[in-house]
Symmetry: D2
Subunit: 376 residues, 4 copies
């Protein structure tokens, strides 16, 4: 089947089915000496479970991570880091009624069309629980990046068409995003969205939404020309998250209806010239330390980081499992009436926030190492 | 520097600077026996040059391809296919005035920040001419795909905020897209856009736009779970094209403000059950041959093709080289006034159309081969 | 640090330090439906521990494998297979006396020269215990191969210059190799070698040896031209085993002093022509089903399997940890007298046998899948 | 078909059939600023053609290289370097008599068994001419390595069982190896071998031989643990050369019959402690600068370079094309009598010498770049 590996130098392979014994990941290529512990993983894993009586009737598993290798006395050894979380609340019986029907909006039928069988026990590898391995690996990538002063933050910027204020807008508050279960960085917007979500839940329906992400502290120069571009890699990374349908960097789709004189970001001197002292980041000698007056580019030009914040948004479709009645087909091709029961979120965004961060951190860690190798 | 290779089984490496001796590509992994000739490449290369008095003051190079290896008597040998196009109209002198300033919206400064130098002769590898190797490789991928009945078509669906009718809408005509230099599939819209482009050109400005792409004839089952998803691979592929800023599959960003009951595509029986006869595509025995009533998913669910048309759009920012005056910084960090002269398009979309097709064809060819290997 | 991943389609990543919490592997790309269980792993792991009062004072850990994912009801799911073995007998204290000296024949100093530190607790990833993950992964590869009738067998063919009879020679008996702790396929030779080993142990010394490997049932056609050759891949695979210093295919070094008329293997008809019925293996239509009268090639021509048994030998240097006094250097560069204590084997070959098999099985499984993808 | 790409960071893809329009390579990942020109390639290509009335009736093509991209004003640009050599002396007719028979010792039948067809025009990609692209790429790798003081030299150390003196032995002279067409580093031995070769040629037979290689100036620390070992990578690299059957590092097969006390190389202080001044190569602070009294390891321990010369030998089988009569099979499975006419060498070693150097240089260049990325 393949496809569970990611990255070139800082690599990760995730494993685990939603209803198997355990899930986790192996990170290969993380340098030695990075402070990292199970507590770092636990913190990120808990962010996957917004809980709090919020929009998601969460599976209440503790998701207790165990580091099996690669870390000794609180620091990475440079060897592969294996992380495991045991599944404790498998209830495969929940899904028995679904084994002969193809749920609309799910990969049920394509999985059978591809592999000739399907693990109906809650999605197997296409379950949201697969992201647990990604988030654990992302915790290691974040730990590595923090040594370079790089931070990655994501939040829910819209649900069901209701937008939250964004960076630079009045009321935007990332701390608030960590406090409310929706991960919305604005309390009043969060409350409005919560009401819509409750209404949708009552109707047996679900909502799409948008997750925004910003990474700060990047040096200029991350990303390779042509096929290995920073934005190309990030696009693959975030579109590999279930339910993600679109990604947009900087002005993105808005740039498509704009004009060059409005979109071009103007470069201005930030500090001095490298080599003459005063450059704020490592630059080859003779290169001036610049920044840009605006950031329509979203921190990436020609596929290479500009040193400005990396900014992008990811669109997620509504949760496909809804309790409203839907018509679908079963294994004999018959029309079947379906109303999906069980614990399901209304909107995937709050849970997707740490996954978007994890994938972004993995790409940045990989590029930071690749960059070291390729510099003249 | 790296980053000029793409793909896993059906792979391509492109080479060539915009002002060096030649550009081209080497395709490794294309199976033997595929009908392919220089004429196939020539046709695609000519589509990169919309010409015709249209929006783009094109470089008038003939772009004559030569197949150096891998093809014998009109068929691929299975060996690496090397394709070369000599540069004939290099005029590096055109760019001498730009060698000490950083053009807004270009990768000039990030390139220097990364590599310590810059090839100011028209962009080097970040020039649009690099896509010539991609289009040549895409011609081979298309030839391979056509043996499976798979076609890939792209067109300009919007420029400067003016939208063209799309598939299923009145007046949509892909043949028209090949006739007009804008690659817009609707004559009246093309004429409206042309007027806007002429106005922008007169003002020394440029326009963004959107390219849409549709691939038909895909079997269900292309794409690998988790990180190797069809849409994730395509996103990386198209965002590696210069000036691309966003990609959206199916309902995409629109899905983010919608609800599950409206977004879920309903599966219905198309033909019979595989193994019982009547399946319209290769399916494992016992799996019904389904299709979907709608295609909000854009032909991909859980990262795997559904057999419905693959549909996505790519947003391109406005051409960064504009003749209007802009302020920028130079190598000493001084403020400089800049008005870029020379032959530049107003909107990149018409030239991007065959590149989007090429990248899509390369991803599909690769997945078709990967799929054969991984099937149980 | 990287480097713990192996393979293209059927891939494995191993993890675990000799004195950390656990060791294991994740296999990604194994097709679904392969019968596989912990018992298959246990059998192979027990072969790593020749025991029996034999040449090796083995660490007596039970090496109990646990499958964490990818297997359900005795069959692979097609998803990543994670396998873990907990370390139970860590005694890091054993190695404290060695933390400031560089053991001759070990990677102690080069590891420090590369990484700036060293895990002196018994070797970390350069310990023989790392091969546990390989052997577990090899068990899955063997299970996959057995569905195609492919078997992989290795044995100790020489120790300290004493050669065992080989295939086709009188007395050669692979069952005997499984009975004696030296894995020598000839009882009398095993007894002779055992005496030499006991003498060397008494002298505080160690012995080199040769492991031979034979894989039967391969179809012709495995391996890719140029860089992806079957023998090139196998060479990398087996030389990645600690203490391996050389590999030789078929007549190997002997061929270097021979002549063409003696080395060329003569092809003869084995069965009929493919497509006319009678071919004993899948062949393109019109290709005769051949075999070779001799097998100087060792089953590989031009890097592609011939359908004859794949035969190669691997030379292992003597175990570097010896209790005889040696002079070496310490961290201050001083000359130090060293006599390594503790439980050490005299010859690595018996333990290397299942590792050579595992690496061979992993290469063959990968090529079998690659072959399916690339065939015209 | 695939398999024509090699390397991770410093990568090469070769292209070209022996009788197609051109052969060559694309190098992706070579850093910018490396002095490199067509003259560097020409020098290496001429070493592939020992000529001089010597053992090989060489094809007399001039092999004139053209750099198509990636080099400007005598230095690499960091962009892909494409190199092309046109075929000028194709005489496909030479091979028509062979199109229905399978030559013993060649990949004729396995190629058909794999691909369903065969390019009988002199071998296609399995021809020795394919190595032209490798040697051209190796020239770039050597140019890159020379900036680090690393040199790679290979020579013919044995033909038909006649050994030349080796490094450290009386009469060994690498300059002599460049003077005589056999690439034997000892004039008298070369003359003896020449006589044997003439005798074999008269008998219509051929000879095997051994190529030895030594790389000097390597820093300690090249190579990755577990699967990415220096010797594992080199083994794959050199066994990808046609007719190579075995590779042996340092004492190699001889170590297999030796004992630990004789094989362990003793580390001794070479200079001071890194950080205290006096280390002769870049080492992490606090690590002593060591060397080894002997080099049985061949410059690699635990898969990582020790800083001692890297030393290995490669065994080549006798040239398979011989003019003596042989029995073989044809496409109908009939027994056929065969006597191969045409221009064929007696021993491949002289031509293999620059190819072994090229593959070694490519591995070392790749590891040097990888090493920069992975260091803590």
């Amino acid at each position: 089947m393949g496809g569970s590996g990611f990255g070139t130098i800082f690599t990760v392979t995730t494993f685990g089915e939603s209803h198997g014994p355990a899930l986790g990941c192996v990170i290969d290529g993380c340098p030695a000496g990075v402070p990292f512990s199970e507590e770092d993983i636990r913190r990120e894993l808990s962010r996957r479970r917004p809980g709090g009586g919020g929009p998601a009737t969460t599976r209440s598993e503790p998701d207790e991570p165990e580091i099996l290798s690669g870390v000794f006395e609180g620091k990475t050894l440079g060897t592969p880091i294996a992380i495991m979380v045991r599944n404790t609340a498998q209830r495969p019986g929940d899904y028995d009624s679904l084994k002969d029907v193809y749920r609309p909006g799910h990969a049920d039928w394509v999985w059978e069309a591809k592999y000739g069988f399907r693990d109906h026990r809650g999605g197997g590898r296409s379950s949201g629980r697969e992201t647990l391995g990604r988030v654990a690996a992302g915790a290691a990538a974040k730990a590595f990046l923090s040594g370079f002063g790089i931070t990655v933050r994501a939040w829910t910027s819209a649900v069901a068409g209701i937008d939250s204020p964004g960076p630079g807008e009045s009321g935007f508050d990332l701390d608030e995003a960590e406090r409310n279960p929706l991960r919305v960085p604005h309390r009043e917007t969060a409350e409005r969205i919560l009401k819509v979500i409750e209404k949708l839940r009552a109707e047996g329906d679900s909502a799409g939404g948008i997750v925004s992400c910003s990474a700060a502290g990047l040096p200029p120069g991350l990303g390779d020309p042509v096929f290995g571009k920073l934005d190309a890699r990030l696009a693959a990374a975030v579109l590999s998250i279930g339910a993600a349908k679109a990604v947009s960097f900087g002005a993105g789709f808005a740039a498509a209806s704009s004009r060059g004189s409005l979109q071009n970001d103007r470069p201005v001197l930030k500090n001095g010239i490298a080599g003459d002292g005063g450059a704020s980041c490592p630059l080859p000698p003779g290169v001036p330390d610049l920044e840009y007056e605006t950031n329509n580019a979203g921190g990436v030009l020609g596929g290479i980081s500009t040193g400005m914040p990396l900014e992008f948004t990811v669109a997620f479709k509504p949760i496909a499992s809804i309790s409203r009645h839907q018509e679908t087909a079963d294994r004999e091709g018959n029309v079947r009436d379906l109303a999906i029961q069980g614990r399901h979120d209304v909107c995937v965004c709050p849970r997707a926030v740490p996954v978007v961060e994890a994938m972004t951190a993995l790409v940045l860690a990989d590029l930071l190492l690749l960059n070291r190798s390729g510099r003249t």
